[in-house]
Symmetry: C2
Subunit: 144 residues, 2 copies
Amino acid sequence: MEKEKKFMREAIKEAKFALLEGCSPFGSVLVKDGKVEFRAHNTTTKDNDPTAHAETSVIRKACKKLKSKTLKGYTLYTTAEPCAMCMTASVFAEIDKIVYGVPVIDFLRINKERSLRMTPQAWKRIKIKGGFLKRECSELYSGF
Amino acid sequence: MEKEKKFMREAIKEAKFALLEGCSPFGSVLVKDGKVEFRAHNTTTKDNDPTAHAETSVIRKACKKLKSKTLKGYTLYTTAEPCAMCMTASVFAEIDKIVYGVPVIDFLRINKERSLRMTPQAWKRIKIKGGFLKRECSELYSGF
């Protein structure tokens, strides 16, 4: 419990850096063998990158540095429960464990305006149609 | 229908570039006003980046070039139904529409080995614990 708090405080520090840069206060650190090895914060506004969430950024940074597509043995500490994008990135990166601060349900309650994009309404706005050139596309995946 | 096929063929071209680079054959293009404006393919292996899926990469590339966090008016053409990471990135980027080739359900059938990471088993492997320093983390989100 003390260990979790110690590393969560490091994630909070990162979140505060994001605020200083005019970005949303989300911070993440990647821990291995009791040591913070990588840190990142949200830079979506600063970098004009809707995918530059703290979690996705720290995963990209660590993988690049380690020259590895996976991060086995790492725990991700992050100030809020990861969105579906960051959660999926964590699964792809084969991270061992995620420890988060605020659950999404509380986040939505605290900051209604900023959390609109996480609601079903945001998802319903996008039109999705599938099955175009399905045969040609399928051929891509049968042989590789 | 002809328009969809034309742009899907461009996405397929990108997927083939990925194969040439030793990466998985996924390709995406972003179309606006009847024109392909941005293109990308999977580079996860080449770049050691588990988030470098074709869809997420083309979104990042377009936002960077346009200096915008959103891509209103764009349609994403992509060779396979986007994973949860890319689908969420598309929602954040406020893309108008997604047109895909192979549905995930077919992809799983075609390529069992490669699709293991998209199964519930892959998700179950990751441990998730929440609510650490919840008060301190919540304070980050109440004022910004």
